[in-house]
């Protein structure tokens, strides 16, 4: 029968597309889904699934415009046929896509729809998911405003409002996932809640959440989640002024980064430890960790990280009175700052070099461009400088990797 054969071929194409996406070949999966749509089907459940999977495949491929298009098709279709469960899912997926595109207000509307339907049909898990999505939308909204150059520790009220809303939704999600006994979901939420509190400046609350996150990561033997928790804990303890405790957490971060063979994260942990030991005024240890950071930065060809390491090493050696060593690193810092176009780093380095010259009482025969406008200063030599210019760049973020794809626990 012709009709039957046509239906089968659409279904076959779609099933092949699904199989390909399952094994992570989204490009090929997309081709099969597109072909299935070309063939067409009268089974609207199948069509909805195709739209939805296409949207997700495009999301994985970072083609968010296309993802939006297909999740929107899915939403329209499910509404037309009155498929509430399907509409809830489509709303959630659409909300996630809008969030990634930075269209937060529209994302909120989708999350609300997802939540309302889930409540109406008594779907607890759906409610939990909608609340989690909600939290993520507000969290992302807050962060996106933060990134646009707020003064540190002085976020605009708009940011604080969004972050507070995120915290409320995460708390509401937690209540449900605890009730459902879903530990993996609890872990994720605790982590995000901890980060939200951290950004809000509620460092004690952040610690409490990340402690829970750590516990659950250990339960699942999820070492990369464990590493994230230790790192977040270390950061929170820095702002609580508990540098000794912070150093312990950073050490665990470092151990796990090494076990996981993640060099960039290892470098970041060494850099954090170097700075923490500087705060503890243990300059020998600080130097040890900054050197470790320097070596990895060089291995990874991370010039910005290398510049940071040299700056830190120059300061630590200055603090110890090793002026020759300090000079070596200050000059390297200067060279790298110029190379990377870091104006404020360059100014800082120039002044450090010139101070050190004064101390060493040497007249360096450097090329004139290096020291042409470096002024003699009478400032005490303590490795410190008034800020000569603010930068809001987040260049050292290049050191940090995005959180790798989280595996489902369990």
């Amino acid at each position: 029968h012709i009709r039957y054969r046509m239906e089968a071929s659409c279904l076959e194409l779609a099933l092949e597309g699904e199989r390909l996406c399952k094994v992570g070949d989204y490009r090929a999966g997309v081709s099969f889904f597109e072909a299935a749509i070309q063939v067409g089907t009268e089974d609207l459940q199948v069509l909805s699934a195709i739209y939805s999977q296409l949207g997700n495949a495009y999301f994985h491929l970072h083609d968010y415009g296309k993802a939006l298009e297909f999740h929107h098709h899915d939403l329209t279709l499910t509404r037309t046929v009155g498929d509430l469960m399907g509409e809830a899912k489509a709303s959630g997926n659409l909300g996630n896509t809008l969030k990634v595109l930075g269209r937060f207000d529209e994302a909120v509307i989708c999350c609300q729809r997802h939540l309302d339907i889930s409540r109406d049909i008594g779907d607890k898990m759906g409610q939990a998911r909608a609340l989690y999505n909600f939290g993520n939308v507000y969290h992302a909204k807050g962060k996106s405003i933060c990134w646009s150059g707020a003064e540190p520790g002085d976020f605009p009220e708009e940011v604080m409002t969004a972050l507070r809303q995120a915290a409320e939704y995460y708390e509401a999600n937690l209540a449900i996932v605890k009730e459902l006994g879903d530990r993996a979901a609890q872990g994720r939420t605790y982590g995000n809640l901890g980060n939200t509190h951290y950004l809000l400046g509620n460092f004690r609350c952040a610690v409490a959440s990340h402690e829970q996150r750590l516990l659950i990561a250990k339960e699942f033997g999820d070492r990369s989640a464990e590493r994230r928790a230790y790192c977040n804990l270390g950061n929170a303890y820095i702002f609580l002024g508990e540098f000794e405790v912070a150093s312990e957490h950073y050490k665990r971060t470092l151990q796990l980064a090494r076990q996981l063979k993640d060099r960039a994260v290892e470098a970041q942990a060494c850099y954090s430890l170097g700075n923490t030991y500087t705060l503890l005024q243990d300059y020998e240890r600080a130097i040890d960790y900054h050197l470790k950071h320097l070596i990895i930065a060089q291995d990874l060809n991370d010039r910005i990280g290398e510049g940071r390491a040299c700056w830190s090493l120059g300061n630590a050696h200055t603090a110890l009175g090793n002026h020759d060593q300090a000079m070596h690193f200050a000059e390297k810092h200067l060279e790298i700052s110029k190379e990377t176009g870091d104006r404020s780093g360059e100014l800082t380095a120039r002044m450090n070099v010139s101070d050190l010259q004064t101390v060493l009482g040497l007249s360096y025969s450097t090329n004139s461009s290096t020291l042409s406008d470096a002024k003699e200063t009478d400032l005490p030599l303590n490795g410190a400088r008034p800020r000569t210019g603010r930068r809001h760049s987040m260049e050292n973020l290049e050191l940090m990797k995005l959180t790798p794809e989280t595996k489902l626990n369990g």
Binding site: L15, G17, F203, A229, Q268, L279, T406
Partner: protein, 64 residues
């Protein structure tokens, strides 16, 4: 926080101050995007009801 900042300022290490300014924005994120799947076949997968975890590329604001 103010107390900590002033302690750092007292130490007068500009490189540490700069690190702390960046640190204030830094978070190691969990997965920020959970998509849900609809299956073509009738067989729903057990366990996570077709939950797809997606490591967020952009939505997390490239956070750490």
């Amino acid at each position: 926080l103010r107390a900590v900042s002033s302690r750092v300022k007292a130490l007068q290490v500009d490189s540490v101050q700069r690190w702390m300014e960046d640190l204030r924005h830094m978070t190691e994120v969990e997965c920020m995007c959970v998509l849900q799947a609809k299956h073509i076949g009738a067989e729903e997968e057990g366990g996570h009801q077709g939950e797809l975890i997606v490591a967020s590329a952009l939505g997390a604001g490239g956070e750490h």
